[in-house]
């Protein structure tokens, strides 16, 4: 009898060609991330100029489709496209034909009929960006799909850490809180481990999903373990995803008492990050949020240049890795 554990690979649907889209950090190589971060850095320099707009993506069209409420992600994608002179169009689910029951496939086909170059999509369901990619010719950027991925958040976090803390290789990052419901956590675990960081997940057992250690991270239920980290990454306690009676934690009060990130639980000089929006007084003490060591506003600023880099990379680098042109030269 042969080997039972081998599932025939050829039963699986073929993978899409790499890097036509940005759907998951898992699709990227370390070189891809390095290139994106380098591009973001050069865009950051241009933003110090008096005239901030670059002609780089003139003539391209970027469509933002948001099926979930979002302030920072949707505004930063829109501004990123505008800074690069692309035409932009933003569609929110409320008030659109989605309200009339249109399927995602039909919305994708409809938008695709305008030949957009990039579709940025946020959707509450895992796999929505792949579906849009299947039915349009556009490059698709995942701006958050359910609990799955939020790749541009992870890229902007890497950018922030590299600018404000230093090299990522060998860095120890503690990610604290509701990992179970967090797409930010999933993208960040992949991104940080890809770049050589050590990642420890800290939180109550029901909020650390079974099997997550296979992503190459360590687990701890003890908030005391964050003191050993170089960076403490605090996750939003996703109250809207906490179903009634689900009992992930007995109460927010107990969660805060046990796992809230407070000044007392941090070492002096420890950097603190949060993807926003924050629940002050729940997962993060307001004194921590407002302290000089908090990088939260820096993250928001990094979001703009990182998303500019993502749009630029998708529209200029193409599916096969080629020598990266300097965006400033192109500009």
């Amino acid at each position: 009898m042969g080997e039972i554990h081998v599932m025939r690979e050829d039963f699986l649907p073929p993978k899409p060609p790499p890097r036509r889209h940005l759907i998951s950090i898992g699709d990227l190589t370390r070189d891809d991330v390095e290139r994106l971060l380098a591009t973001a850095r050069s865009f950051a320099r241009t933003l110090e100029r008096e005239v901030k707009k670059l002609p780089t993506l003139r003539g391209y069209t970027v469509v933002n489709v948001f099926y979930e409420s979002s302030t920072r992600t949707s505004s930063s994608f829109e501004l990123a496209a505008k800074r690069l002179s692309a035409d932009t169009m933003s569609i929110k689910a409320a008030g659109s034909s989605v309200d009339k029951g249109e399927s995602l496939k039909d919305t994708a086909l409809t938008l695709g009929a305008y030949d957009p170059d990039v579709i940025v999509i946020r959707h509450p369901q895992i796999g929505a960006p792949q579906l849009v990619a299947r039915y349009t010719e556009a490059h698709v950027v995942n701006a958050g799909d359910g609990k799955h991925q939020h790749p541009t958040q992870a890229l902007l976090d890497l950018f922030t850490i590299r600018e404000e803390v230093g090299p990522i290789d060998g860095l120890h990052v503690a990610i604290v809180g509701d990992v179970l419901h967090s797409r930010v956590a999933r993208s960040n675990i992949q991104a940080l481990t890809l770049m050589g960081a050590r990642v420890t997940l800290v939180g109550p057992p029901p909020l650390l999903p079974r099997g997550i250690e296979a992503m190459g991270c360590e687990l701890s239920h003890d908030i005391g373990s964050i003191a050993a980290a170089d960076v403490v990454y605090v996750l939003r306690m996703q109250q809207e995803r906490m179903q009634e009676g689900a009992n992930y934690v007995p109460s927010l009060r107990e969660y805060t008492a046990r796992w809230g990130v407070t000044p007392e639980r941090l070492r002096p000089g420890q950097k603190v990050m949060h993807p926003g929006p924050m629940n002050r007084g729940v997962e993060i003490d307001p004194r921590v949020a407002d302290a000089a060591d908090a990088l939260i506003e820096t993250q928001v600023r990094a979001g703009l240049v990182t998303r500019m880099a993502v749009l630029y990379d998708l529209l200029t680098t193409g599916p096969v890795s080629v020598k990266t042109p300097d965006p400033l030269e192109v500009a």
């Binding site: 042969g2 995602l104 099997g211």
Partner: protein, 433 residues
């Protein structure tokens, strides 16, 4: 208990096939002659009379398959499948009999609904089909159906498939009462408070993808409960679509103690693991979900050693637009009637995981015996229920090739080895390729 449309009985001679009926101990290259739908003679150089002759050289002639778990979607979702299309799909897959589950709209929980299905089958079924009736009214898990009347009318068994019987007290009553009917109780084992919201197997893949997990213990704790109740009541039962190692182990232990429990496993659980879900293809979403490599190994081992006696497709047709959505929004279920043998031949027999004889037995004798049906046999005087298999032929699974009204197959676009050349069901040629 099985119903088929009336019609001709065929005369036929299959020449020179490897005739393989493991349960009869037959394995020889010879001719088989069918007179008026009945196997009349086995031997070499048989007279053909005026019969049509099928060249079986290089092919395997086996007892046709029995699928104990099909969703025909009638009544209620005739856009997805009908008795005619579902039985035609079964014929193409090499089946001579199938059993349909009662989770339709309305549920098959009364003599009136069952009666209309039987009439429909007598008018349109290409191959014999049996209908299970619900265990509880509306499959709501509150009150038992009128099992005696349903059995008298021809129910092939009882199941709330698609849903578990949640309350242990009611499960016990069902075990006690169904005994008077002589029909099988078939159980969908799922503890809903453990599987709630679950999209796929809980493990490393669900943790990475972010899907809510449907842990294997959601199945196995219910399997263990139902086996305990069956042992206590001295009743048998049939476990539907097992997926977890712990379930197989609990079943094996109960059988060793003398519980008359049978079980089935699907081709997709035998061929795939939860790793496949990384593609986010909604045609890889089913209940129970694809599980770990270790669970899959336990299912294959259970099939091999006979703990699991039946292969069941759990053929679950879904409309195209319902599956062309993100994975989380898609309904559970995949089709399987037309690909079961080829998928299992390709995935289990060719790599040497399961002998061909075992697979043939588990696709025919096993399910027939689980439900107390006559098992298809290749023997003189038996009704002709035959499948002619080309184990060398490769074919590509394509949507336009399906006879089912739905195409939500996890195998679309893939090339399989093993093709059904001819199906004879209840004495009639129902499929030729």
């Amino acid at each position: 208990m099985l119903f088929v449309r009336g019609g001709r009985s065929d005369d036929l001679v299959v020449r020179g096939a490897r005739v393989l009926d493991p349960a009869e101990g037959v394995d020889a290259v010879c001719d088989v002659r069918v007179d008026g739908g009945t196997i009349a003679q086995l031997g070499t150089n048989l007279e053909t009379n005026e019969h049509r002759v099928v060249d079986g050289s290089g092919l395997v002639l086996a007892p046709a398959f029995v699928d104990p778990h099909v969703h025909l979607r009638v009544p209620g979702r005739e856009d997805e499948e009908t008795i005619a299309s579902g039985t035609a799909a079964a014929a193409a897959g090499g089946y001579c009999a199938i059993l349909a589950m009662p989770n339709t709209e309305p549920v098959v929980d009364s003599a009136a609904v069952l009666g209309s299905l039987i009439e429909d089958a007598q008018a349109h079924a290409e191959i014999p089909v049996g209908f299970l009736a619900a265990i509880t009214r509306g499959q709501e898990g509150a009150e038992l159906t009128e099992m005696a009347e349903l059995a008298d009318q021809g129910a092939a068994g009882f199941s709330d498939d698609g849903r578990p019987v949640v309350a242990p007290g009611l499960m016990r009553r069902a075990l006690q009462y169904h005994g008077i009917t002589g029909r099988r109780l078939a159980l969908h084992c799922e503890e809903p408070t453990l599987s709630k919201g679950g999209q796929m197997h809980e493990g490393a893949v669900s943790a990475e993808l972010g899907f809510s997990g449907y842990p294997s213990v959601a199945e196995s704790t219910m399997v263990e409960r139902d086996l305990s109740l069956a042992a206590y009541e001295g009743q048998g039962l049939h476990l539907l679509h097992l997926s977890a190692r712990e379930s197989v182990e609990a079943l094996r232990a109960a059988q060793a103690k003398g519980v008359a429990a049978t079980a089935e496993v699907t081709p997709h659980h035998l061929c795939l693991t939860d790793e496949a879900v990384r593609t986010l293809d909604p045609n890889l979403k089913m209940n129970p979900p694809l599980r770990s490599a270790d669970d899959r190994a336990a299912l294959i081992e259970g099939l091999r050693d006979g703990t699991i006696g039946s292969v069941a497709t759990d053929h679950a047709p879904h409309a195209r637009h319902e599956k062309e959505v993100p994975f989380e929004a898609a309904p559970f279920g995949v089709t399987g009637l037309e690909t079961a043998f080829a998928a299992l031949y390709t995935s289990l027999v060719e790599p040497g995981l399961v002998p061909l004889e075992t697979l043939l037995e588990r696709m025919s004798t096993g399910p027939a015996q689980a439900y107390g049906l006559e098992r298809p046999r290749i023997a003189v005087g038996e009704p002709a229920n035959l499948v002619l298999l080309d184990t060398a032929a490769e074919w590509k699974v394509e949507e336009r090739g399906f006879r089912s009204r739905s195409a939500n197959s996890w195998l679309l676009g893939h090339t399989l080895k093993g093709q059904v050349r001819l199906t004879v069901a209840a004495g009639r040629v129902v499929h030729e390729q």
